[in-house]
């Protein structure tokens, strides 16, 4: 009887939106196909890379990690990884402090003082300046200032990512009521204490967003470290991976093995921050 009732109240079948489904399948394919190819090629031997369809798309004949070991040797993996980690983590740490401070000040003062609105617009305009235009003068300037090293790269990253991230932080400040700061002020805190003990922790979702955006940009960037640190012998992972391209050809198997290895740290970082970034991006977008 119960079964009969359950059957009778069965929900009507929802209509499938086929157009949307097909678009989503195509979207998924465009993401997963290159990933499949990258993993597939990373495990293949050069002899398996034939021009036939089977050679291009087929699975490797055996799973072995020799490509990964060789890629690590060619790229001086641990050193390069260390440099990449140092540059990325230092940039993120400094970015969170510098951008959140700037965002806090601008977010709170734009509405009150016209002058700060111009400062804000000046900062934001930096987003529209292409790196290629700045490249040559920057190389000269960093060399003159003896900053043709990791510290110079970190400094430049801080400048390049500033417009976007300050905009996000300034927008996010609208989510934090000013009365919280007033309460802290009445409780005896200075502006500095209020920022560090109240405002900075409340910006957690935006910290996650900015950290991921900055990490992605710095970890994958080739151009800035290449032009700034050239000739110093200091390599980041993306620079070291250029070793797989020679004038005679590219060793795709080693290159993709190396790419997969360098993908893992940033993927882990993204997974850790993922929960926060979703709310962070939404908040910043709506209120910004």
């Amino acid at each position: 009887m119960e079964k009969a009732i359950r059957k009778s109240v069965k929900k009507p079948k929802e209509k499938t939106n086929w157009v949307l489904t097909i678009i989503l399948i195509l979207g998924t394919f465009t993401v997963f196909f290159p990933l499949y190819m990258a993993i597939n090629i990373a495990f293949k031997q050069p002899s398996e890379m034939t021009n036939s369809i089977e050679g291009a798309l087929g699975l490797p004949s055996s799973i072995n990690f020799s490509n990964f070991a060789e890629a690590m040797r060619v790229t001086d993996f641990w050193h390069s990884l260390g440099n990449s980690l140092f540059i990325t983590l230092a940039t993120i740490a400094l970015a969170l402090v510098v951008y959140s401070l700037a965002g806090y000040v601008l977010g709170r003062t734009i509405a009150k003082h016209k002058g700060f609105k111009w400062v804000y617009l000046y900062l934001i305009s930096g987003m529209f300046v292409p790196f290629a235009i700045l490249m040559m003068p920057l190389v000269k300037e960093t060399a003159m200032l003896h900053l043709g090293n990791q510290f110079g790269v970190i400094l430049l990253y801080l400048v390049f990512y500033m417009p976007m991230n300050v905009m996000l932080y300034a927008g996010y400040m609208k989510n934090i009521p000013t009365v919280i700061e007033e309460a802290s002020e009445v409780d005896g805190a200075s502006t500095w204490t209020t920022f560090w003990r109240v405002i900075f922790p409340m910006m957690k979702p935006m910290h996650a967003t900015v950290a991921v955006l900055t990490a992605l940009g710095t970890w994958n960037d080739v151009m800035t470290p290449l032009v700034i640190m050239s000739g110093t012998g200091i390599n980041t992972l993306p620079i070291a991976q250029l070793n797989f391209q020679t004038q005679f050809g590219t060793n795709y198997n080693l290159a993709f093995a190396s790419y997969i290895m360098s993908l893992i740290p940033i993927l882990l970082f993204y997974i850790i921050c993922q929960k926060q970034i979703i709310s962070g991006v939404a908040n910043g977008a709506v209120k910004g």
Binding site: E182, A183, V186, D187, M202, K204
Partner: protein, 369 residues
Amino acid sequence: MSVSLKHINKTYPNGYQAVKDFNLDIKDEEFIIFVGPSGCGKSTTLRMVAGLEDITGGELLIDGKRMNEAEPKDRNIAMVFQNYALYPHMTVRKNMEYPLKIAKLPKEEINARVAEASRILGLDALLDRKPNALSGGQRQRVAMGRAIVRNPKILLMDEPLSNLDAKLRGQMRIEITKLHKKLKSTIIYVTHDQTEAMTLGDRIVVMCDGDVQQIDTPENLYNRPANKFVAGFIGAPQMNFLDMIVEETPQGALLKQSNSTLTLTPVQSRLLKDKGFKSGDHVTLGIRPENLSAAIDTKDHANCIEGVVEVFEMLGSSSNIYVSVNGQNIAAIMPAGHFCKEGDKVSLNVDIDAIHLFDPKSELNLLNM
């Protein structure tokens, strides 16, 4: 700690004057209420005392010292905000510890003070919760806890109960009264609710459009309002106002309106005459609903106002009736057992000793000596 506000003014950059020539001396341990409708400048005045708004004119003295330019942290004040303003990333305990940690008190003292405040406010079981896991009433108690842990000499409260439901508001009113007795702090409390004002305050400051209308005890505000605004603002249901015409007789002054006549007492007649009112002049009669009593179908119309019942509200212990008198509406409170229906003719006896008379132009109370 005493607080003095001398000729305080607040003018915003756009020229809007929020507070005009505010003068008040608050004694140590006094419970002062700022009351008035929205936008009257009461919160602005409180924020100027707190140091959250600049004072554009006048002088603020705390314990005799000028404090106009002092930072909020240097004023020895604590404040409870309307929307609680709790730190969302901190637990209740950490919220309460925050001002004490900033004051760099020893750990043992911080623990003792938090324990004492949480005991007084019944927050013991909530100390490890974050604000988003608390109800409105609990959050309000935490906000008060954060203020009282500092043993402030001056406690400022900006409409602290306005976000609570009626039942909780009643409970919290009692808690605040107890708290004041225990803390012995000077309290400045802002509200737009005249019930809160009347029940909590030693003295009440009634404000309207940035002006102070009257500063007095709750009893005096009720019995001797300075003007028509105060008379209408204090008391629920609010005071009735009727336009009357003065008629002088050898026995004293009469107030007339169509077929209603009120005979003033000799003292009232003299006061009216002293203020220059003579036969034919208009005057505004103010009478509270509780000073009117219905006399349905009575033959004696002395000191009575005639009208027609428009609405009858049965409240249980009493009833409210709303009567139309020559196009003007007045309310009266009747004792239980009195019934009437819409359209009934009613004669309302006026307790002539309890009336107020206001100048129609200046709106000042003519019977205040």
